[in-house]
Amino acid sequence: MRKAPNIFMRRTVFSAAATFLGTVFALPLVWFVFAPFNARAELGLAIPSPFTLSNFATVFQNTFAMQALLNSLIQAAGGVVLVGAAATLAAYALSRSPIPGKGAVTYILLLFSSVVSGSAAMVPIFLIISAAGLIDTHLAVILVFAGGLLPTAMFILRDFIDAIPRSYEESAMVAGASPLQAFFDVALPVIRPGIVVVLVWAFVNIWGSFLIPFILLRSDKLMPASVAIYSFYSEAGTPIVTLLAAYSLIYSLPVVALYLFVNWKFGFRFFGGIKS
């Protein structure tokens, strides 16, 4: 009981510190929410008055910016599908089959992945892609992203699958299922939460990436949103804050929506069925 004032002091100090930190992190977000609706937005924080949608109207009329959003979607979707499918199959094989040295394979791939998607590899990647005649295509961007993200995705998924008891598939096979049936009927649904995590991770990665599409693409009509944001700069190189803010908000919405959707639809883990 005598300690009570002491605890009170500590709580107060802790709360004050937490509030300060929270504010520091929240301010940019507050700006991010307010600025798009402010016709005279500056880099400083201001409550919109009057509240207006004119910034959005301007952005929506900008066909280049709209096309860029679509391009982002194409590239992200393509990359996600490729990474998801390939990583699932590869990780499943690495986890379940008795291939000797499979542990080493995974680690070496992981080591290389940080090189492949890193800026150090930009020159060789550019050369390979141009030798393949794929410069200035969606496919180039999709392939490079898939190559860069696959090893990490495989690594995450293999860990996830390793943690799932084999008896699920074994009981399916004893019941008469072929390995393929056991995979699709039993293993895939059980590892789906892991796959979804990898898909979201890959989507966010591709959606936010600037360097790779910037280097591999030339024509305006293929540029993704991350590159298109640069069109909201004046000739002199100063940002047009109003448009930039509105476009940024639109640009971030798919990621938020994806997160909410996944959380709603897959935001639970399967468990049970195995005696622990």
Partner: protein, 367 residues
């Protein structure tokens, strides 16, 4: 239904030898129990029949066909897993009906069949739930139902009743017994529970450290345990084993141990040979002991250690000096106080002798 055969099967995990060398034959329609302590290789043996584990050497035959390298789905088996292995994303009905689904049965038909089996196992009103939403015992019955929902050549059960309460366990045991008699299923059934093995099996394989120590009908295992290990494993409570010093005098075998008073035993060649080591183990089943009266020839005495009333009968345990206890299963209303001395008697025909190495010595009236 089909026969099962192991031909010189061994199984190692890396450097660890789980099963050194097993051979046995199971005839069509037999119900075999694998009985043995934890880690003795029961599950491993079962998994080799199922095809989930490939033997390191040897051959597995089902119905006369070499299936050693055949995929599990092509072996015509069904199996209850020790850890249930229910599909967590399917409800109970779909879990039970899954084997019918892969066999291409249409949905209404397979659900009707699943309901039938589920009803027998008293999980008929849980069909809409997920495995995580039912109890351990209910999960185990779901797993059992899934194995019984379709006809198989061989049924493999890995401790399928271990998680049920006493009443449900008896019911499920009765149900399996009925199934076996009704349709003559070939089954290999793993259990720790010797009572379960006694009740269900046509033959019991007692395993120890990856070897089969004895493979015989339950009554044979009970009456003539091949080794002290088997004797110690079967029976409730298991056979009393008393290490004795032996000598031969006046043409008979004399046994000596603390608190033991025994009439001389008639010599046979085998007994005489085993007596050379000077040591044997005397075995007497608890149910063959009674409170001694004056004139009893074979008596074991000691202080009362425990007296457990089991309803109709009591388990009376006495302590013979410093080396070991002897338990008797007797019908008595008498209240015996802990610490008082107790004398238990038994008939000479209920004596089992084991030699120095623990192997049973055949009695005089055996071939």
């Amino acid at each position: 239904m089909a026969s099962v055969e192991f031909q010189n099967i061994s199984k190692s995990f890396g450097a660890f030898v789980a099963v050194p060398d097993i051979s046995f034959q199971i005839a069509d329609g037999e119900f075999i129990c694998l009985l043995g302590p934890s880690g003795c290789g029961k599950t491993t043996s079962l998994r080799m029949i199922a095809g989930l584990e490939t033997p390191s050497s040897g051959r597995v035959m089902i119905g006369g066909r070499d299936v050693t390298y055949l995929h599990p789905k092509d072996r015509g088996i069904s199996m209850v897993f020790q850890d249930y292995a229910l599909y967590p994303h399917m409800n109970i009905a779909d879990n039970i009906a899954y084997p019918l689904k892969v066999r291409g049965e249409q949905e209404t038909r397979r659900h009707a069949r699943a309901k039938e089996v589920a009803d027998v196992l008293k999980i008929g009103d849980l069909l809409k739930r997920l495995p995580s939403q039912i109890s351990g015992g209910q999960q185990q019955r779901t797993s059992l139902a899934r194995a019984l929902v379709y006809p198989s050549e061989v049924y493999l059960f890995d401790e399928p009743l271990s998680n049920l309460d006493a009443k449900l366990r008896l019911e499920a045991r009765g149900f399996l017994n009925h199934l076996q008699r009704d349709m003559g299923m070939t089954a290999v059934y793993v259990t720790h529970d010797q009572a379960e093995a006694m009740a269900l099996a046509t033959r019991i394989a007692v395993m120890d450290k990856g070897r089969i120590v004895q493979f015989a009908p339950p009554i044979e295992i009970y009456r003539r345990p091949a080794t002290t290990f088997v004797a110690n494993f079967v029976g409730n409570p298991p056979m009393n084993l008393v290490p004795v010093e032996v000598s031969i005098g006046e043409g008979a075998l004399l046994l000596r141990a603390n608190g033991l008073q025994l009439a001389p035993i008639a010599l046979t060649d085998v007994i005489a040979k085993a007596a050379k080591s000077g040591r044997m183990t005397l075995g007497v089943r608890p149910e063959h002991l009674r409170i001694a009266v004056a004139g009893d020839q074979n008596v074991v005495s000691g202080e009362l250690f425990a007296n457990e009333n089991m309803g109709p009968e009591s388990l009376v345990t006495l302590e013979r000096g410093d080396n070991g206890r002897v338990t008797a299963r007797i019908f008595t209303d008498d209240e015996i106080k802990v610490g008082t001395s107790v004398h238990l008697a038994f008939d000479a025909r209920h004596i089992t002798l084991f030699d120095d190495s623990g192997a049973r010595i055949p009695a005089a009236d055996e071939r």
